[in-house]
């Protein structure tokens, strides 16, 4: 029996799809190093100091220095580790992050080519599926390290991620009901009159908070807090493997920002001619990333029990209430 595949909204030729995948891959691996130095400079400016400014002009070659340092480090596998799983865990997390980028729309169909990887009819479920695979990567990495502290860190990270994924999904459900479709391109097209951040303000805030927790970013960055857990699930990883975990976190941050822009901030809608659409999307994503870094510079870390009680006792009821009210209003009007 064949597994039913999701309908694809608009299919181009295979070679175009291959080119688009390569472009997405190259673009994200170019943006992530820039994001690392952007974060360090922004954090510095928020703290009334310069960020890195010695390596290149405005410190822009700093990621190159970091990459060379990480690659040159010794890759030491602990004796208690499970060999294959330990090696493959960082790859799983990076793969899940990059794969999610395929559905983010950067523009409408122009000249027969859609400005997105692929437009599946299941839309956002694709994002949650790969988010769960990323969570597998964390768990496998922590357990396969063979050390108690890595395992504990991985369990805490996993519990945090799955707790907040539910609230995230429910927050997005409001916009899906308003648009009437799961596909991301349809949701962006439905926002041409008003961005969904305004009618769905509660959903937007819930998605924001849950997004911070999903990506293990401050104030929910306990899994990677150096003082608390040494590097949590990443303790036994060195060199580029640890760099892969860090890279995966930045990719996830980019993806969550992109999903928030798509669902709540109107995607590619903005004043100006049609060719400006991808630029609008990138500008909005960078505004969101600025918000991520702004919050990291400001808010102190949340304790683990406070984190879990926030996820289950505050966000989940609020998100459910949001869905209920939206459903009623959508049916009535």
């Amino acid at each position: 029996m064949t597994i039913p595949a999701a309908d694809v909204g608009f299919v181009e030729a295979t070679w175009i799809l291959v080119v688009k995948s390569l472009v997405i891959f190259a673009a994200i691996f170019g943006i992530v190093p820039f994001l690392t130095v952007l974060e360090r400079k922004l954090l510095g400016r928020f703290q009334a100091r310069y960020g890195p400014n010695r390596v290149g002009p405005w410190g822009l070659l700093q990621p190159l220095a970091d990459a060379v340092k990480l690659i040159a480090k010794e890759g030491y596998r602990p004796e208690n580790a499970v060999p294959i799983l330990w090696s493959v865990a960082p790859a799983i997390v990076v793969f899940a992050g990059v794969a999610t980028l395929a559905i983010i729309p950067f523009g409408d169909v122009k000249n027969g080519v859609g400005f997105y990887g692929i437009d599946v009819s299941i839309g956002i479920l694709y994002f949650f599926a790969f988010g769960s695979i990323a969570f597998y990567g964390l768990l496998v990495g922590g357990w396969a390290s063979g050390s108690k502290y890595s395992f504990l860190g991985a369990m805490r990270a996993a519990a945090q991620v799955i707790s907040y994924e539910i609230s995230m999904g429910l927050a997005l459900l409001g916009t899906i009901m308003m648009a009437g479709s799961l596909s991301l391109v349809s949701i962006v097209e439905a926002q041409d009159s008003i961005w969904y951040a305004i009618p769905q303000l509660v959903g937007f805030l819930i998605f924001l908070i849950a997004g911070f927790a999903e990506t293990n970013r401050a104030p929910f960055d306990l899994p990677e807090a150096d003082a608390e857990l040494v590097a949590g699930y990443g303790t036994e990883y060195g060199g580029m493997r640890y760099g892969s975990f860090a890279m995966a976190e930045y990719i996830e941050m980019f993806v969550v920002s992109a999903v928030a822009v798509t669902f709540f901030l109107g995607g590619w809608h903005g004043p100006g001619p049609g060719w400006l659409d991808p630029i609008w999307v990138i500008a909005k994503i960078f505004a969101f990333l600025f918000l991520f870094m702004w919050i990291r510079a400001t808010v102190p870390r949340v304790r683990y029990d406070q984190l879990m009680s926030l996820g289950w006792k505050v966000l989940l009821p609020l998100a459910t209430l949001n869905v209920l009210v939206t459903a009623v209003l959508v049916t009535v009007t």
Binding site: A48, T298, V314
Partner: protein
């Protein structure tokens, strides 16, 4: 104590009238707590954003250096008389006696009448300060009766060998490279 009943409910140890209830902040948690936390978070966000607008307070060493006060105790300087060119130091070793770290070594010698080094009877033939032991307290400057040794402003004294850090008389007498900015009046 108008809220006696309420305080007895929440604080069971406050049964005695003589015990004064401690002024407590509002209880955290709940919807009111979440509302206040949200407001406080926004206030924090405004503070950090204001830091961007104010600009960084970093002084970029080594391109910029913090200007020092005139009485800053840096590396020592031995002085000469400007008119005659003779050294002011007569080798009396009062600085060596005053030094708490015992890092000055003075060996005096008789002045040759034709080739005078100092205007007195004796001069310091060997004058060495071990900068790895010096604590830069300035007692040698206070002790010297001839104003021969003063503390200059140089603090960039790093070197590669311990031997190179024992400064001889020639090095202390030589004109120093002034590379430390001086704090101007009213700064």
């Amino acid at each position: 104590m108008s809220d006696n009943a309420a305080s007895k409910q929440s604080f069971p140890y406050l049964r005695d009238e003589s015990v004064v209830a401690v002024q407590r902040g509002p209880e955290p948690g709940g919807a009111k707590g979440a509302y206040r936390a949200f407001g406080e978070t926004l206030r924090g966000l405004k503070t950090t954003f204001a830091r961007i607008l104010e600009g960084p307070v970093t002084i970029q060493y080594p391109e910029e250096k913090t200007p020092v006060y005139p009485r800053f105790r840096g590396r020592h300087k031995l002085h000469r008389f400007e008119d005659t060119g003779l050294e002011k130091c007569v080798g009396c070793s009062l600085c060596a006696a005053a030094c708490p770290a015992d890092c000055i070594r003075v060996v005096a010698a008789e002045n040759d009448a034709e080739n005078r080094v100092s205007p007195g009877e004796r001069y310091a033939e060997i004058y060495e300060i071990n900068l790895t032991r010096c604590i830069f307290c300035g007692y040698c400057e206070v002790a010297c009766p001839f104003d021969a040794i003063t503390m200059g402003h140089d603090y960039e004294l790093a070197d590669y060998n311990r031997e190179d850090l024992v400064f001889t008389k020639e090095m202390l007498l030589a004109e120093p490279v002034e590379r430390t900015p001086l704090r101007r009046e009213g700064e």
